[in-house]
């Protein structure tokens, strides 16, 4: 069992945040970048993210406590938009379990726009995700990795920028011990019928914590 990381958004940080918010003398760079984004489908989460949604052409790092807490359902509204409205494929690279087609279909994803890659090694996973992002055809690439290398994420960032697609990178909790080069970094924790999301980093957005209700599952 991995040690549970320190509470990501500490009360101290919240206090500082509140203080900064109370004054207009400090310019914090919020809302400056009108970066392209895809709405998350959760209004309260959108508010915290740069461009009010998942940033396009950038890496969003997701760090769930464990799997089976709604970490995939969180993305469904955005993936639906990408696959149905934009008609761009969605690619899963190296998921930890079998992505269950009936559930994905039920969530409104057209299965013909979905590709599941299961590379046999970390290097291949990295390669496949990069190639797919760079090609710029897939609207989103979801990748599961336990790499510790910063470089890997930076390369993904460049590839996502080049292909103007969204890279969602799922990493294990121990990744939180180190800073991240990703544009957005979220820690995901279980909650009753919901997902507790701590925005640890949001380039051009604001930090904070939000509870996202989840459809389906008890």
């Amino acid at each position: 069992m991995l040690p549970i990381p320190a509470l990501p958004f500490s009360p101290k940080a919240a206090a500082v945040d509140a203080l900064l918010r109370s004054t207009s003398l400090v310019w914090r760079g919020h809302g400056t970048a009108a970066a392209p984004s895809v709405a998350t489908g959760h209004v309260s989460l959108d508010r915290l993210l740069p461009g009010h949604g998942w940033p396009v052409g950038a890496v969003t790092e997701l760090v769930p406590d464990t799997s089976g807490i709604g970490e995939l359902r969180l993305l469904m509204p955005a993936l639906r938009r990408i696959a149905c409205d934009e008609g761009r494929p969605v690619v899963l690279v190296g998921p930890p379990h079998i992505p269950y087609a009936p559930a994905l279909y039920r969530a409104g994803l057209p299965l013909r726009r979905l590709i599941w890659l299961q590379p046999s090694s970390e290097t291949e996973t990295q390669w496949a995700a990069e190639q797919t992002l760079r090609a710029g055809i897939a609207g989103a690439v979801l990748m599961w990795t336990d790499t510790r290398a910063d470089l890997a994420l930076r390369r993904l960032q460049l590839a996502a920028e080049e292909g103007q697609s969204i890279a969602f990178v799922y990493r294990p909790p121990r990744a939180l011990r180190n800073p991240s080069p990703a544009a957005v970094r979220l820690a995901l924790r279980p909650a009753t019928r919901a997902l507790r999301i701590d925005v640890l980093k949001a380039r051009g957005g604001q930090g904070g914590s939000v509870l996202c209700p989840l459809r389906s599952a008890c």
Partner: protein
């Protein structure tokens, strides 16, 4: 008729050995003498040239690699080239002894946009294939062949110009036996025109009817009996490597050439491939088989070669390779995706298929899956990994995002909600009765578990991801 003839003087070498920095030459034995018939650029630097005695050449450069000339290899190479050349004309033929390849170009003039255009396409193609070729264009097969032997030769388009144009060309360019050439030279003849004006009867009596026959075919008085070559309907190309090759890089040059040839063959038939097979033969043991599948039918040599290269880089050659065989057994109609005028949507589509091909080539076919539905009750049978789903009409009940291989669990966490009963298989004797529950694990994750009525035990089957 108008023929384009390519003379391939370096074919003895090109059919055996990829370009190399080291001096390599092909030797042929005639009588007691062994002499060089082809050599590469590196030889010239070492002072070795065609026609040189093999012993002299070895004395000049002891590490010179000498290879015996092999007509089966040359034949295989020129056949491959003829298959490639069919893209320019339905009428192609070759002479493996004289190392000549003819293409009838009159019928395609309008399509290709003129003689100059065809000529430059052929030249470009030969360079792409790594062949040295000299081109002659004339209204008869022998005239074209003769012109291909003369540097900077004029092009002769009309039969009526033929005699006048051949007039001044050197005697040595004619396809005559050595002793005959010598005899004419002794007579003081030096040009083609001088041979053509010799009295016919006397010539036939003195030098045999073959000479007259050749002269008549040259000037078009007599029809050339050569028949066109037609490549077989199943494509198969062998390349025997010179010595065994242990590294993948050594296979790339011949493979690239094979794919350029294949592309010509495919263009000629207006078809494409979705699967090619490459066999790498070893000295002993089973051959290594590479099967390249593409999402869409393809004919582009560069793309096919890139896929093979990707695959080869992931392949470890257990044993040295002696020979490469490329097969194509099935051909597919080429979609219109590779036409030059395509809109951006289609181009995107094409990019997507190219990406999938690349992923498949490197990760393996089984690592790239599409998901589909199946109209089955048991959750593990309700999905599949093929493109199209056959289910989807029935409303799907709530299902978890992740499924696992059912795993038996001993301690059961608190369960909530009503169970969902799934029964299946009673009609074929594989009766299954399961009650599915959603339960919360200690770490906060939600599990999809079932109770199996038969064994009275609990299994973990999914995660609500």
């Amino acid at each position: 008729m108008l023929y384009l003839c390519t003379s391939l003087p370096q074919l003895p070498l090109e059919s055996r050995c990829p370009p190399t920095e080291d001096p390599v030459a092909i030797a042929e034995r005639s009588g007691a003498r062994r002499w060089l018939v082809a050599c590469n650029d590196a030889c010239r630097g070492a002072g070795i040239h065609i026609g040189m005695d093999a012993t002299t050449a070895l004395a000049l450069y002891p590490s010179l690699r000498l290879i015996e000339r092999s007509s089966p290899h040359e034949r295989e190479a020129i056949k491959g080239l003829a298959a490639w050349a069919e893209q320019f004309s339905h009428w192609v033929c070759f002479d493996p002894e004289r190392l000549l390849l003819w293409i009838e170009i009159k019928s395609g003039l309008r399509y290709f946009g003129g003689v100059g255009e065809i000529r430059s396409r052929v030249e470009h193609g030969l360079a792409q294939l790594g062949h040295v070729g000299f081109i002659g264009i004339g209204p008869t097969l022998e005239a074209a062949a003769l012109l291909s032997q003369v540097p900077e030769a004029p092009m002769i388009e009309r039969q009526t110009q033929l005699a006048a144009s051949l007039d001044k060309l050197p005697l040595a360019a004619m396809a005559l036996a050595d002793d005959l050439l010598e005899a004419f030279t002794d007579l003081g003849l030096s040009s083609v025109g001088q041979v053509l004006v010799l009295p016919r009867d006397a010539t036939a009596r003195r030098y045999g009817p073959e000479l007259l026959d050749y002269l008549d075919r040259l000037t078009g008085r007599l029809r050339d009996p050569r028949k066109p070559y037609r490549a077989p309907d199943k494509y198969r190309r062998r390349f025997e490597l010179l010595g065994s090759v242990e590294v993948v890089e050594g296979l790339l040059f011949p493979l690239r050439r094979m794919f350029v040839e294949l592309q010509g063959y495919l263009i000629a038939r207006d078809t494409a491939v979705a699967q090619v097979q490459i066999e790498l033969l070893h000295d002993e043991g089973e051959p290594t088989l590479l099967r390249i599948r593409t999402t869409r039918p393809l004919r582009d040599a560069v793309r096919l070669f890139a896929l093979v290269k990707e695959r080869l880089e992931r392949t470890t050659l257990g044993r040295p390779v002696e020979e490469i065989v490329l097969y194509v057994e099935r051909f597919e109609a080429l979609g219109d995706t590779q036409l030059e005028l395509i809109d951006s949507g289609r181009r995107k589509d094409q990019g997507w298929h190219e990406l999938l091909d690349r992923l498949r080539a490197r990760l393996g076919d089984s690592a790239v899956q599409e998901l589909g539905l199946q109209d089955q009750h048991l959750p593990e049978q309700a999905w599949c990994t093929v493109g199209e789903s056959d289910g989807g009409t029935e409303p799907i009940p709530e299902r978890p995002m992740w499924v696992l291989q059912p795993r038996r669990i001993r301690t059961l966490p608190k369960r909530f909600g009503k169970p969902e009963r799934i029964e299946a298989g009673w009609w074929n004797g594989e009766d299954k009765r399961r009650d599915y529950h959603t339960v919360a694990a200690a770490d906060g994750s939600q599990l999809w578990v079932y109770h199996d009525a038969d064994s009275d035990s609990w299994y973990l089957h999914g995660l609500w991801g």
